[in-house]
């Protein structure tokens, strides 16, 4: 039988406890205990971020200033060499091509992903039966392991027996098979095409989200003024989508700069170094040539370029938040 003194509903406030505030000392003790608990909640993640993101960045800067090779792992010696690794990296005859390929790969991938992504996102904005289901199935290329996609595309792009050349010959578009991955003049294009395929789902998802934010009333009002179709796109969709577009593009650049899996799986940087990028250079110097110092120099150049775009991103983001 409940007595009058304990009329506490589940989850309700106990009047007895609320009426008797703890003494000041106890309250202070409780506050400091609270802060300790907060710190304990945050500590594991904080420690992890410092060890697995902070430390590698610092370590890379240090390594790039040292002669860090396989010998280092046996002797523990890594003499300081100043900027010699950077001189080696920039002076190597692969530096120019790697910079150019990185730029072409990034620009080509982003342009393709964005254009197709925006077209598909606009298409899916029209609600039709199964649109939600089709849109989520479209995520699949993004969720597959990149190395799986690379392997699949390698079989599709195979010069002699790949299905793409078979198809193109079948419809009469080409007479000679295209050496997609074996010719230095075509390989970069092939790698870009595959990376566009991988990146479309990300672009569709974010751009679709942005399109959904644009109020329907704007289109209804526009339609009364005769703005439909392309006119509606240029005067209503594009200006309203701009903040999302900037974010997609900048993030796309940052994520494309560091792509490694696709290139290693498709061409390994070849043929004849035609698909060398800064990320591939960094990997090969460190883990193929075991010149960790030079590899670190390459990856620091990569970080520096990413940093520029990261700053752009954060400024855009802040402006979006301010607005």
């Amino acid at each position: 039988m409940p007595t009058l003194e304990t009329p506490v509903a589940p989850g309700g406030v106990s009047p007895a406890r609320a009426a008797a505030p703890p003494a000041r000392g106890a309250r202070r003790r409780r506050a400091s205990r609270e802060r300790l608990v907060q710190a304990l909640f945050l500590a594991p993640a904080g420690l992890y971020l410092v060890l697995f993101f902070g430390y590698p960045v610092v370590k890379n800067v240090l390594m790039s200033l040292q002669e860090y090779t396989t010998r280092t792992f046996f002797t523990g010696e890594a003499p300081w060499v100043g900027l010699a690794n950077y001189a080696t990296a920039i002076g190597s005859n692969l530096f120019g091509p790697a910079m150019l390929n990185t730029a072409l790969f990034t620009v080509g991938s982003i342009a393709g992903q964005f254009a197709i992504g925006l077209a598909l996102a606009s298409f899916f904005r029209k609600r039709f039966p199964l649109s939600g289901f089709l849109r989520s199935m479209l995520l699949l290329p993004w969720l597959l392991p990149l190395i799986v996609s690379s392997a699949t595309w390698r079989s599709i792009l195979d010069q002699d027996s790949g299905v793409l050349n078979g198809f193109l010959r079948g419809v009469g578009l080409i007479s000679e098979p295209i050496p997609w991955l074996t010719s230095p003049s075509v390989a970069l294009i092939a790698v870009v095409l595959v990376n566009i395929w991988v990146g479309i789902p990300f672009n569709v998802t974010i751009l679709y989200g942005g399109l959904q934010e644009i109020p329907e009333e704007l289109y209804e009002a526009g339609a009364m003024d005769g703005a439909t179709g392309w006119k509606a796109f240029w005067h209503i969709t594009w200006p309203n989508l701009r903040p999302v577009v900037s974010v997609v593009l900048v993030l796309g650049v940052v994520y494309t700069l560091k792509v490694l899996d696709i290139i290693l799986g498709l061409t390994n940087g070849g043929p004849a170094n035609a698909t060398q990028t800064l990320a591939v250079r960094s990997y090969q110097e460190s883990f193929v040539n075991f010149q960790f110092g030079v590899g670190a120099a390459f990856s620091n150049i990569l970080i520096l370029i990413s940093l520029v775009f990261a700053v752009v991103y954060l400024r855009l983001n802040r402006r979006a938040v301010d607005e």
Partner: protein, 296 residues
């Protein structure tokens, strides 16, 4: 999921402004919609053709040639037999690493996400900024440094070493997505428990975590997929065949010349199963992660 029953005020008003009768208007509005569905199916077919081709090629009887029919009319499972014989242990390794990454990432990220959603301080935005930027650091930078550190610590060629490294793909993402959800938990339900005498820890375990179930599932699924897909750390942080995730197994298959395409493609199909199964069975959670956490 589908818009078969279109929301009133949206589609009908744009398709037929002056509808004589609602059923007639709907029939007229449905025809162009079904055409859209057909076009959408076509787009999807083109986008997913490589996935189909992977499955098709995995069922071809041939060994080292690629000549495949358009349909696997005489499916052969020789590729799968070979794949399971050669890559079976690697698939198990990948599974262990991925499950480990899920557990580790959630354990580390969930408490932090909760605190980041509760504390009001200008340092929170600094912390969030750091987490955002950490996602932008190229994996090769982390691999470079971890190789040296792991070499000293004896963590190369170990499952827990790869779990710790793979969690770099997951933890920033999991923190951001869980925090975004936990911001929306009504403070009253946590306060009620606190007034009843529960400490922060108990309120977190018995109220916050159960309420966050859906977002924990979403975050866990993505942590799994990120770790399962990892190739860079598998490539750089292992030096022997003792611990070899399946992504690295596929890479070594690829080599310079592929000798057995059906086995490669069968392994590729097996490695795609988690993504395919989760996308079909847990679509709700995957879609939430794709839009909510925005980015990989």
């Amino acid at each position: 999921m589908t818009a078969l029953t279109s929301t009133p005020g949206r589609a009908p008003s744009s398709a037929a402004p002056s509808a004589p009768s609602s059923s007639q208007a709907r029939r007229r509005a449905d025809r162009p919609k079904l055409r859209h569905t057909a076009v959408g199916l076509l787009f999807l077919a083109v986008m997913l053709f490589p996935v189909y081709w992977m499955v098709n090629a995995s069922l071809q009887p041939s060994g080292n040639t690629l000549t495949a029919d358009f349909l696997p009319l005489n499916p052969s499972f020789a590729g799968y037999e070979r794949a399971i014989a050669q890559q079976g242990p690697n698939l198990v390794t990948s599974l262990l690493i991925s499950l480990g990454t899920v557990a580790f990432s959630l354990a580390v990220a969930a408490p932090a996400a909760y605190m980041l959603s509760q504390i009001r301080s200008r340092w929170i935005s600094v912390a969030l900024l750091a987490i955002l930027v950490s996602q932008m650091i190229p994996g090769i930078v982390i691999a470079n440094a971890l190789y040296a550190a792991y070499n000293d610590l004896g963590l190369l060629n170990s499952i827990h070493g790869l779990i710790l490294a793979d969690a770099t793909h997951a933890i920033p993402f999991v923190i951001l997505i869980l925090r975004a959800f936990m911001m929306r938990i009504p403070p009253s339900i946590v306060e009620a428990a606190r007034v009843d005498g529960a400490g922060v820890v108990r309120a977190f375990v018995s109220i916050v975590l159960p309420v966050s179930r859906n977002s924990l599932i979403t975050a866990g699924l993505f942590a799994f997929l990120f770790s399962w897909s990892d190739f860079l750390f598998a490539l750089t942080l292992t030096t022997t065949e003792a611990v070899r995730p399946v992504t690295l197994g596929i890479y070594t298959y690829l080599g310079t010349q592929v000798s057995n395409w059906s086995a490669v493609m069968a392994t590729a199909v097996l490695s795609s199963l988690p993504a395919i199964v989760l996308l079909v069975l847990a679509q709700k959670y995957i879609a939430a992660g794709a839009t909510g956490g925005s980015v990989k």
